[in-house]
């Protein structure tokens, strides 16, 4: 299975958009809550990507004279202990959250997807063994597992990404295995085998593309959890090693000491975490509904 086989398979999916994806997009645009979610996610991504362009101040260097100022026309969200502009730091914080969220969910997809595909395709004892391992991982609360991994590997963005990925991977593995199992007896899979297609070919070309839909939904929902997990790790003091980095969870922790003097420092990072998580959740739910033709609105 070289690049020559993979390329047309991807092209096939792009063109499939006219069918399944086109319909799904239409249904999504008619779904109010999903649109709201899409709007929130778009704002979040725009904030992260455009942070260096639109941020009015430097996220790290502050003016000590301006410390702990409440929101004003100069500083829309006030300033923090070091006199840094809170709005700027929120924008840069989005960058960290997005980066960690996307990378960790992608990592989780690769790990969980591989495990799930192996389990679903192999069946039998291998399947049973892999699924028991995922059961064990799933039985440990996600944030506890993540804390354990960061504590073990040390602080740092890559470690956080890995930790969040490991907590999500078993979920993806289960979902993919489940859809593959149900596809094994699908008529077109038996039909593909009846024309002499090889095992890997049936799996990669006929089963996987049809099993991806639930995985896409789960990945969107996992982004919400990932962002909360990253903030949670930051809040617990396991955030990025450089304390100056603008990270929502760390910003929350720092602000607790000045709760009375500067409540805005608690409010803005908190509301951003909540809004982003809600956005991804609404979008994920909307995607699930629009990708399933049986749930037509």
């Amino acid at each position: 299975m070289g690049a020559t086989v993979a390329a047309p398979a991807i092209a096939a999916q792009d063109r499939a958009s006219r069918g399944l994806w086109h319909d799904a997009a239409r249904r999504l645009l008619r779904n109010g809550p999903a649109l709201l979610g899409l709007g929130l996610v778009t704002l979040f991504v725009a904030a992260a990507v455009l942070a260096p362009v639109i941020a009015p101040y430097d996220p790290i260097a502050g003016a000590l004279a301006d410390r702990l100022k409440p929101p004003s026309p100069e500083h829309w969200m006030g300033t923090d202990l070091q006199g840094r502009d809170e709005f700027t730091r929120i924008l840069y914080g989005a960058q960290v959250s997005l980066q960690v969220g996307v990378v960790s969910v992608f990592l989780a997809l690769v790990m969980g997807g591989t495990l799930g595909a192996i389990a679903g395709a192999a069946g039998g004892k291998l399947d049973a063994t892999l699924m028991r391992v995922t059961d064990v991982l799933l039985s440990i609360p996600g944030i506890l597992l993540a804390i354990g991994i960061v504590a073990w590997l040390g602080r740092g963005l890559p470690q956080i990404m890995l930790a969040v990925a490991v907590t999500n991977a078993p979920i993806f593995a289960r979902i993919l295995r489940g859809s593959l199992l149900s596809l094994r007896t699908a008529d077109y899979v038996v039909a593909a085998r009846s024309i002499g297609a090889t095992g890997p070919r049936v799996l990669l070309r006929h089963m996987l593309p049809n099993a991806l839909t639930p995985l896409i939904v789960a990945a969107t929902l996992a982004l919400a959890t990932a962002i909360i997990d990253v903030a949670g790790l930051g809040f617990l003091g396991l955030g990025p090693p450089d304390p100056r980095t603008a990270e929502w969870g760390t910003m929350l922790t720092d602000s607790t000491k000045f709760l009375r003097q500067a409540p805005h420092l608690l409010f803005f990072p908190g509301i951003m975490i909540v809004l982003t998580a809600i956005g991804f959740n609404l979008l994920g739910d909307g995607l699930r509904e629009s990708l399933d033709p049986r749930l037509k609105r």
């Binding site: 007896t185 039909a191 024309i195």
Partner: protein
């Protein structure tokens, strides 16, 4: 030499609820170019027989537990999986019942056809594409070149079944297995698709096994028919002889349960009472006995062998001269077959022997 020779094929499914005796010693031959009908109701083992031939039984539950399948000089039961894969599609092709679900929804028809062709032939993508266009035109799809780029959902049911036929014929197989190819289609489309199948298999000399529960379909399509019941072949004959002289009570029942338009004085339809046996139980006696109006005491205990109707006839297992064989202890006479019930004075079906009365109690109530 026959193209396909199945001997004493036994297929069982081992499930958590017990063993299912799906196919219980089926034997039949098929000549090159011959069209054989496999008739029976749902669950009688006709589809399982063919999945077993292709070695596509659902794993790990379904297993070939006995018998042999010789195809073109190859022992299909013991052939290595890689050789089996080579053979599928190239020498034996299948058409499935539901064209709505047997094409992959996320791939275009072109990708699926080209894949089939290139799985077995060393050709370029472009050559395979040209062959695909040719095949679509052959099965009567207009503007084939444009339609190639369409996805399965953009075709109607009849068109999809045409695509399936085109794919099955892509590599000029020696044997085509069509599993209820028209059951999911509109009646008007059924005739077109059947006619297409017949024309194309005749032109290419492809042998065909046509699985169906519709006697009307096999009547016009096949040269020979195997009637199956509960995993057994209970009657086999050339199509002509089977319709002229049905000799198993089940075949008689089947013929009497379909309406005929050419009947001079339309009779009432005679349904076959009861339900097929529970195949989780090891077969004892004739599987049709509980539903049979002709049954004798021996039917409850001994499965009758499949023997020639005329004991003096030389046995031929395939071809146009194939011997009419039937597995029955008490064959209906032609007059009885015509009437659809026993006509002998004072004949009553034998009651079940005491040891199985209890087990069969619910069935008996249905009959009463």
């Amino acid at each position: 030499m026959p193209l396909l020779s199945v001997t004493d094929l036994v297929v069982r499914f081992r499930t958590h609820e017990g063993t299912i005796h799906a196919v219980n010693g089926v034997s039949f031959d098929l000549e090159p170019g011959e069209t054989l009908g496999l008739v029976g109701e749902s669950g009688c083992g006709k589809s399982v027989t063919n999945l077993a031939l292709m070695r596509l039984l659902p794993k790990p539950a379904g297993r070939i537990e006995g018998g042999s399948v010789m195809f073109d000089g190859l022992d299909l039961v013991h052939l290595p999986e890689s050789d089996m894969r080579e053979l599928r599609g190239r020498d034996v092709a299948m058409i499935f019942q539901d064209p709505m679900t047997s094409l992959n929804p996320v791939l275009t028809v072109e990708e699926q056809m080209v894949e089939t062709i290139r799985a077995h032939r060393q050709t370029t993508r472009e050559e395979a594409r040209r062959r695909a266009i040719e095949l679509l035109e052959m099965v009567g799809i207009s503007q084939a070149e444009g339609r190639l780029r369409n996805y399965p959902h953009q075709f109607s049911g009849g068109m999809r079944q045409r695509v399936m036929i085109a794919m099955a014929l892509a590599l000029e197989p020696k044997l085509m297995i069509a599993d209820e190819p028209t059951t999911a289609l509109d009646v008007t489309i059924q005739a077109q698709v059947l006619e297409l199948l017949r024309r194309l298999t005749t032109e290419s000399g492809t042998a065909m096994i046509l699985i169906t529960h519709d006697l009307g379909v096999v009547a016009g399509m096949t040269q020979r028919i195997n009637v199956m019941y509960a995993g057994f072949i209970i009657e086999t004959a050339t199509t002509e002889k089977l319709f002229a002289e049905p000799s198993h009570p089940y075949t008689v029942g089947l013929l009497h349960s379909i309406p005929r338009l050419d009947e001079v004085r339309p009779e009432e339809l005679v349904p076959i009472e009861g339900t097929p046996p529970d195949q989780r139980r090891e077969p004892v006696g004739c599987p049709f006995a509980p539903r049979c109006a002709w049954r004798l005491p021996v039917c409850w205990t001994d499965m009758p062998p499949l023997v020639p109707l005329d004991p003096n006839e030389r046995l031929r297992s395939s071809g146009p001269e194939a011997t009419h064989r039937v597995a029955c202890h008490n064959r209906p006479t032609p007059a009885e077959a015509d009437a659809g019930r026993p006509l002998r004075e004072g004949f009553t079906p034998a009651p079940p022997p005491h040891e199985i009365v209890e087990e069969l109690a619910p069935t008996e109530e249905v009959l009463a």
